[in-house]
Subunit: 514 residues, 2 copies
């Protein structure tokens, strides 16, 4: 059994049974091994940003790593932005990156590059396999690293000869370490802060944003008079009717400062101390007010559920007293669409157990409250700020949860970075409703132009901020990749098309002209 | 004048008057400065791989650097593959990469990444500006580095506060070093090898592939009985009727070995010693035969034209005796298309001074001899092997030479990586004829699967090598981005559509179904 087959058997044995691929010559033995080994679903994408984003989405919904298969340094480079996003989301991914045969690297052929150098900024773990006999063991170590909570990016570089030479056979994955528990002192300190009553806030992230974490945090808040708040962006929020609702820290600095201004004691639950997304002239980077005491209950590595459990016990908070979101549907709007009307339509239409992948950027700033009372669903956001994450993450989420509907809400500017994701949706017949907000502008940048004090954009600047002239035709783009698509500009037809699309199997796209 | 304006004025003053952009918040001051400063053409792309590939194409045709404007680490990451290709092509590029304000970096906001780490593998020069007063001087140094022959990738990282704080005003670009001349011994050694007669070969690259270099090499070969050959891929070949024709080293190893087997003395003219594109089991990496003496007349840094001039003098070779390609047009084919018929059509249709950007991969392997007798034109190839280079390079070439027609010959697999280039062609009204070879397969990989000894692909492997199911509709994709498009599968209609498209202003696309 060669190295490649030893590695594929190690992956499957280690529970990695989806591989998102965009292979090249140096990966052909790995591809050949996929023919021989049962239990690995292979999903081709036509651009590597789709590959890596899909692996991110898969982890978020399954908490098990998918593998990627990438072609040398440039293939990894094409996947880099979504690996950045995945790393910031604490997603676990096993990247397999092909490399020249080890003896060939020194000749500096056209595709030769410093693959480790490219991998390092977006990986927690990088290794080039030294020989075919070691590939399976290296793969097992990569799986263990990727799976170690909260999830890590492990990049294994596979020189061609380590794939085609005789390997070791499969290797068992080492035991995955469990999350460390919060120190007793951390729980005690949080309890002391909470005992001081109003003016205390729990800032939640990670597991704290899933059903049980929110319930515990909600119960603690209810008992103590503290508030709960989420980070501005979250890898996965379990929300909707019957769950504990939580607001997010707003993106614009003045609004974020407003939300935090009366917080005297901030308890971090898997979250980092809140800072501005960007630095702006004359605006602070740190969003908490001066004198706010910041205490860490758990880091992102630690077990937030256990810590919240212990904290709830310490405070005498009871789960059943957590304030629960009641179901509600906003009034169904009519006429020409605007962001609030879209939010209201979504609040009416999001189906139970939907996975909402939110890359709405400016269009979606008001969606959250209007969808809070929808049936229970998951809400996924961009953690690394690099746009183009949404449609690939939708691909991965749909593969992870084939029984659920995926609703991908995507700004037109964002969607173009990884537009190739539509083809993979079509090939795999994924239940993704992709909705494109076609405002034909990098709308966020128009605000940011002013925020950074650059004044009012002139003609040349505006040309760099607007993506019209020519307008993108998303119906043509989607149908060109095999995804049925419609265009709409009014409430009634958006609602009708969304309902119809969600009722059918397979992907569809709606271009919403704003 | 702030740092950003100081930098833009330095760029314009230094002859950098095209900027390919995909900006974000951290680049807004740079964008604002573009409004204030005359003389910089700004070209927006919807994906950064288009930005960097366009800068590559611009350099190849103008030998002057364009600037890119990229948004932090992930934006640079999206442009990485085409920077890899540009670096291998010895193209000069000034990358401007936005970064958080320097005081904000430590907060590890979502977009924070190791930008220098991402830049280094694809850059010859990387610098993060330390303060606004230094930005213009750093920009001047970047221009000098990018412009130093044979062309270099210079990446300047621009923290937000260095853009918005008070700058120095524009700074003059330092003198660009000229190419070093070949040592007298190198010319003497080459002359001695040539004096031994047949069995000697000049392997050409870089300037050696442009009109005068080829004429000199051709004259030397004619005088001495040596052969001339080009690398497999070349950044820019000046060819066609009235120029010295030269063949390229074939991509498949067995054919390359065949071409080189009788070469006893190889003289490198700006070229590297020939090696296989990939290492394969049971095939050599080094393509020259054992015992072949390899001598370097010039490295890629040195002045090949001067060295060939001196060598021609030493051998008594006269330019006017160089063997010149006679004009010829292949018989115009008819009926169903195949690669040879396509080559014949191209041989009839390539207009004088056309710029052919060749990313035809397998479909185009036979185009070269069939187009050798077309009117004088340039032929550009992928130097780094990362597919997705072609349409972006066509964008840059068209902007560099608005008076010339650009013919982009693109495999369908390749085209999808940077499909967003079509939108920039439409917005800028570029005279690009994009022709897509729609074989719905990564055809090269089917050959490589066998070459690496992986046997015959099964169903799962084939699914990773074929890009049909669903078939891409390139007419829809192009029209969706504002580029008029047609589909064809026969000779007559391809010829007619190409002629019509080349006669009109602005871009068009032809999907050729194979």
């Amino acid at each position: 059994m060669n190295g490649a087959e030893s590695l594929v058997r190690t992956l499957v044995g280690g529970g990695v049974n989806v591989c998102f691929t965009n292979p090249g010559t140096s990966e052909m033995h790995f591809v050949a091994a996929l023919d021989k080994v049962e239990g690995m679903r292979c999903v081709l994408a036509l651009f590597e940003g789709v590959v890596t984003g899909a692996a991110d989405g898969y982890w978020r919904m399954r908490e098990r790593p998918a593998a990627t298969l990438l072609h040398l340094g440039p293939g990894l480079g094409n996947g880099l932005a979504n690996l950045h996003n995945a790393k910031k989301a604490n997603s676990g991914i096993v990247n397999i990156v092909g490399e020249h045969a080890s003896y060939h690297i020194k000749y500096d052929a056209p595709l030769t590059a410093d693959i480790e150098g490219i991998a390092r900024p977006v990986s927690h773990w990088v290794k080039t396999s030294a020989e075919a006999k070691m590939v399976a063991a290296d793969g097992a170590a990569a799986i263990a690293m990727a799976s170690t909570p909260p999830g890590h990016i492990a990049t294994l570089i596979l020189p061609g000869d380590t794939a085609w030479n005789e390997g070791s056979g499969p290797v068992k994955v080492p035991a995955i370490p469990i999350r460390p528990k919060a120190a007793a002192d951390a729980v005690k300190e949080a309890a002391q802060l909470l005992a001081q009553g109003p003016g205390t806030m729990l800032l939640l992230a990670g597991e704290g944003m899933q059903e049980r974490g929110l319930a515990l945090a909600g119960a603690i808040a209810d008992k103590t008079g503290a508030r709960i708040l989420a980070q501005g962006a979250n890898a996965r929020v379990q929300r909707g009717a019957g769950r504990v609702p939580v607001n997010r820290l707003p993106y614009p600095v003045p609004q974020a400062l407003q939300v935090l201004k009366d917080v005297q004691r901030l308890i971090l639950v898997g979250a980092k101390a809140p800072v501005a997304f960007f630095g702006y002239p004359n605006q602070p980077s740190v969003l908490t007010s001066e004198g706010c005491a910041i205490s860490t209950l758990t880091t992102s590595e630690e077990d937030s559920i256990d810590a919240l459990d212990r904290l709830a016990d310490a405070m005498g908070a009871k789960l059943k007293e957590a304030p629960i979101q009641q179901p509600f549907k906003p009034d169904m709007p009519s006429g020409t669409l605007d962001p609030d009307k879209i939010g209201a339509i979504l609040g009416n239409i999001i189906p139970e157990q939907a996975i909402v992948v939110d890359e709405s950027v400016t269009t979606g700033r008001g969606f959250y409250p209007l969808t809070a009372g929808a049936p229970p669903h998951d809400w996924l956001q961009n953690m690394g700020g690099s746009i183009g994450y949404g449609m690939p993450v939708a691909v991965g989420a749909a593969l992870a949860c084939p029984e659920r509907k995926v609703l991908a809400l995507i700004g037109d500017g964002s969607g173009m970075y990884t537009v190739q994701a539509l083809w993979t949706m079509a090939r795999e017949g994924l239940d993704v409703s992709a909705v494109i907000w076609a405002n034909r502008t990098y709308q966020i940048l128009k605000g940011e132009f002013d925020n950074v004090g650059a004044g009012k954009p002139g003609q040349k600047a505006n040309d760099m901020l607007e993506i019209g002239r020519p307008d993108l035709d998303w119906v043509a783009l989607a149908t060109g990749m095999g995804v049925p698509a419609r265009r709409t500009a009014d409430c009634e037809s958006l609602a009708r098309q969304l309902q119809r699309g969600l009722a059918e199997a397979g992907p569809h796209l709606i271009e919403v002209v704003l």
